[in-house]
């Protein structure tokens, strides 16, 4: 792609930044962004920046349980949000990026609620009413 490095790229043509809350269909295939799942698996939300190494394909993230599935939902929304966050740091007036950020934020909040209801708190500030203190009880992220 030919563009001036410091000109802001329009990543948001063909991206529906409002209304559609369906995880994977809010990005048109002609857009410059990957959908949240594809972006997460690749580690890169921006099609023009994605470059594979020796044509190696990204490894599919295994989903073997409901917990894996909820973590994948949270992971992809949080990741897409973070990618937009870094873009907005450089271009704070990008309305499309901000709208998409806010849309993913809402979706992520829902997914976090679903996760925490079933598998306990993701942060120390939520769902802390019961004894024993739930924060210490669940699996820590480095244990497989």
């Amino acid at each position: 792609m030919n563009f001036n490095m410091f000109d802001e790229i329009d990543y948001f043509t063909n991206v529906n930044t409002e209304n559609d809350m369906n995880m994977d269909t809010n990005i048109n295939k002609n857009s410059n962004l990957f959908n949240t799942y594809e972006g997460y698996v690749k580690g890169n939300l921006f099609k023009n920046l994605y470059k594979s190494y020796k044509n190696l394909k990204p490894v599919k993230i295994p989903v073997n349980s409901e917990r894996d599935e909820l973590l994948l939902n949270i992971g992809q929304l949080s990741f897409a949000k973070h990618e937009l966050n870094l873009l907005l740091d450089n271009y704070p007036n990008n309305t499309n990026a901000l709208n998409l950020f806010n849309k993913y934020q809402k979706m992520e909040t829902e997914q976090v609620k679903n996760y925490e209801r079933r598998f306990g708190p993701l942060t120390v500030s939520s769902n802390m009413e019961n004894i024993p203190f739930a924060w210490v009880n669940d699996i820590w992220p480095w244990e497989n």
Binding site: K42, F46, Y53, F79, L86, N90, W142
Partner: protein
């Protein structure tokens, strides 16, 4: 202020122990181009960035690098945790065992301990951003070297993913560098 989330930024679930690989991967924890050096390089440089874009970008990328420290640490931990003493000796990790048992310890692949020299901060925003761009390129190159040295998909997944992050970070640093340059900052 920082807030911990009890999940990895990208999942790690390594089923096959591999001590040779653990010994090499550690460089992306404690080596000169590793994630620990990156995290604190950016978080240390952010105070003297000339405007809010720079303060935000270095804070947010520095914070993401902390999540990458956790991913790499998890990989090393999982590659080592079921190893026998015999296997540790065979892989040449007995010297690590003598000092640290199976605990993590930030070194490069040759066992050279982590040093704050890796922070590389001048206080000149353009020099620091240029340093950060180089750091992202070097980390990408090291990830490619490590990718060459494994074919375990459980290890390749996170390595390919972390490599892409270096590419995106390089782009963001470059954009900021070019903006500062054109604006005379």
């Amino acid at each position: 202020m920082w807030k911990y989330e009890k999940r990895l930024q990208y999942p790690v679930n390594i089923k096959t122990k591999d001590l040779r690989l653990a010994k090499l991967l550690v460089t992306q924890y404690g080596g000169s181009n590793g994630e620990l050096a990156a995290a604190f390089r950016y978080l240390n440089q952010r105070y003297t960035m000339p405007d809010n874009r720079g303060k935000a970008l270095l804070t947010d990328i520095g914070t993401e690098e902390l999540a990458h420290v956790e991913i790499i640490s998890t990989m090393i931990y999982q590659l080592m945790k079921d190893a026998s003493l015999e296997e540790i000796r065979e892989a040449g990790l007995d010297s690590h065992y003598a000092e640290h048992k199976k605990a993590l310890y930030p070194t490069d692949a040759n066992g050279v301990p982590f040093t704050v020299m890796y922070f590389a901060t001048t206080g000149d925003p353009k020099a620091d951003l240029m340093e950060d761009m180089a750091a992202e390129q070097k980390a990408r190159a090291v990830y490619e070297n490590l990718i060459d040295l494994t074919n375990d998909p459980d290890v390749l997944g996170p390595l390919l993913w972390l490599r892409q992050r270096e590419i995106v970070h390089f782009q963001r640093f470059k954009e900021l560098y070019e903006m500062y340059k054109s604006e005379g900052l």
